[in-house]
Amino acid sequence: MALAQHNLGTVVAFEFIRTIKKKGFAIATLAIPLLLILVFALVFASNESSKDSADAQKNAQFSFTYNDASGIIKAPGAKVAGGTYTDNPAAAIEAVRNGTSEAFFLYPDDPSKEPVKVYGADKGMFENGKYEAVAKQLLEASAQYDVGSPKLTAALTGTVKFDSETFKDGKPAAGIGGVIPPMLFLVVFYISMILLSNQMLNSTLEEKENRVTEMILTTLNPTTLITGKIISLFAVGLVQILVFLAPVGLAYLFFRDSLALPELSLSSLVFEPGPLLIGALLLLGGFTVFTGVLVAIGAIMPTAKEAGTIFGPLMAMMFIPFYTFSMVISNPGALIVQVFTYFPLTAPVTALLRNAFGTLSPVEAGIVIVELLVVGALIIRLAVHLFRYGSIEYGRKLSIAGTFRRSELAAK
């Protein structure tokens, strides 16, 4: 037992260190944060530019003519903005066309039914926006003057803020603040599977492709090897997630305003123990099932290339539940949602979604968790069995039935 533990530690250390030392791993891991930093830099530059541009457009000073059939526009306000009234729209348009006038705004009789026509001398795609901005500002300011009340103006323009509160079982319902924390388990599941699945598949194929299996199988127990690989991959995944999140965290802490990132107030999040515990167990069960399946594929297939043909459809199973996203949330009793909830390869994503949106009952959650953990454990056992008997079938695809015939005969 002591040697088995010693060997488990040795396998974990060997697999972890050799993975993170690979150039490909460093490139793949650093590429995403570097890309994020680049995107943030571009967003930062764009935001500065957009802000300057918006301010410039808003405060743009230029001369224009206007015609107002609606009677909303107030002449004094228009004059301050640089406007001159004209009775002859056709001439005003022609003046803009031949460059003798900078802009002309034609306000219709009923702006709620017809558009305000804006004509201007071309100043480039971005600067042209100033004409509409001034025409709109002039209309709003004139209307506000008529209404005579900032409150009514706010109500009419839809700039009023709303703060909803709903109740469930006599207590305030968590709302979106309660969805986000358990939803994070789904995010972690996706990230870990996307980052690690290919490595899981290849980690067992490597022994086979390099003809290391017999040396390994006579040196340590295959269960120890597989367990060690899974633990090391999980550790590798954590390293990757931390590296990926580092620039996001730094950006949020130091450049939130510049990058126009939304304010994340933890006080608005609701951390309910039930959904969080269920989320964690569903994540564990889902990870176990997918890991077992990937290791089993690696044991059956002779090369990474051939394993790839099964790998694609398996990964698709993780995304299929999203096709029924609206039904998962609004109609959890639907047959398709029920099938996805209990089929082991679609269950993790479907159940995690339903758990986050509060449509997974405790009984259903219990059944899915037990199912995932039991199926996952069985698949990992099968994966170890297939590795033991499949990994020495060098260059050949393994007959799963064949491995069991051997075991059955041996058991007699």
Binding site: T10, R211, V212, L217, T219, I392, R406
Partner: protein, 310 residues
């Protein structure tokens, strides 16, 4: 951990049978290997040697029978000092030599420092100390063989199991391998060796077993097996033509040299007299034991030779 009781056979195989589907590969195979001896495991390709070793080491589940090392079924977690060089061999090719050696050393129960120190000394001994930090796939085939051999003999194994150890080895590494086997033999290790090199078997092995189609065809000391398959032969160098005779059978003859197997009731004197009286001019006449090569050919026959040649 030591491998069992010295009074008992170190390796004990009894009534071993192995089926793959409907095909029986090994049937009722029984033999023992005693501590400290070098044991030759002989047979043509497909005769069941590798299957037997894999079943002995727990890689295959036997269909029936007992396969014990040190009195029990082999389990890697027992930490037995065992070195196995499989027929299908390889290591983690994209890793540095020293990392791979230290990894296997650790798995065999050595401390990290001990595994590192042993590995460095071994690489020094086999003349590639500068390759310690080189990836395995950047080494030549011969250098990779040296590393593979090093991994096999780490932790000073009590039992060395070598499946066609010289397969693919160049002459330099073959010599190195033989030296290492002899060293371990002198140090008291037990060696089981699958090989087609009969001269190596005659030189190194105390006892042998010869397998054909999964069945033992000969088992015992080299001398006992030679005796069983005809014992003595006469090697002659001559001029002229060898006459046919009831006193001997010509096993082989070419370019004035021949090997004669004595017939029923024939003695050295009678055969010699027969040749002289027939007018054969003898340059030498030497009684010798039949070689394992000849026994192998006898067991597998001309058909096997032709098949191998193809």
């Amino acid at each position: 951990m030591t491998l069992g009781d010295a009074a008992e056979p170190l390796v004990h195989i009894k009534d071993f049978r192995m089926d793959f589907g409907d095909t029986t590969v090994i049937r009722d195979l029984s033999f023992d290997v005693h501590a400290g001896e070098t044991f030759g495991f002989l047979g043509s390709n497909g005769s069941g040697k590798t299957t037997t070793l894999r079943a002995l080491l727990g890689i295959y589940q036997p269909t029936a029978g007992t396969l014990h090392i040190g009195g029990k079924v082999f389990e890697p977690r027992d930490g037995a000092r065992l070195g196995y060089l499989p027929e299908e061999r390889g290591l983690y090719k994209k890793e540095p030599v020293l990392d791979v050696m230290v990894y296997f050393g650790r798995l065999k129960g050595l401390s990290k420092a001990a595994a590192r120190s042993w590995s460095e000394q071994y690489l020094e001994r086999v003349g590639i100390p500068e390759k310690a930090k080189t990836r395995l796939d950047k080494l030549s085939g011969g250098q990779q063989q040296k590393v593979q051999l090093g991994v096999t003999i780490m932790n000073n194994p009590e039992l060395l199991i070598l499946d066609e150890p010289t397969k693919g080895f160049d002459p330099v590494n073959r010599r190195l391998l033989m030296d290492i086997i002899e060293e371990h033999k002198r140090a008291g290790a037990t060696v089981i060796m699958v090989t087609h090199q009969m001269e190596e078997v005659e030189r190194l092995c105390d006892r042998v077993i010869l397998l054909k189609d999964g069945v033992s065809r000969a088992y015992g000391t080299v001398e006992e097996v030679q005796e069983e398959f005809g014992g003595t032969v006469y090697r002659v160098a001559y001029d002229g033509v060898l006459p046919a005779s009831d006193l001997y059978e010509v096993i082989s003859a070419s370019e004035g040299r021949a090997e004669l197997a004595p017939g029923q009731g024939a003695s050295e004197e009678k055969v010699l007299r027969e040749l002289v009286e027939a007018g054969v001019s003898l340059r030498s006449f030497t009684p010798a034991r039949i070689s394992l090569d000849e026994i192998f050919i006898k067991v597998y026959g001309e058909q096997h030779e032709l098949a191998e040649a193809k």
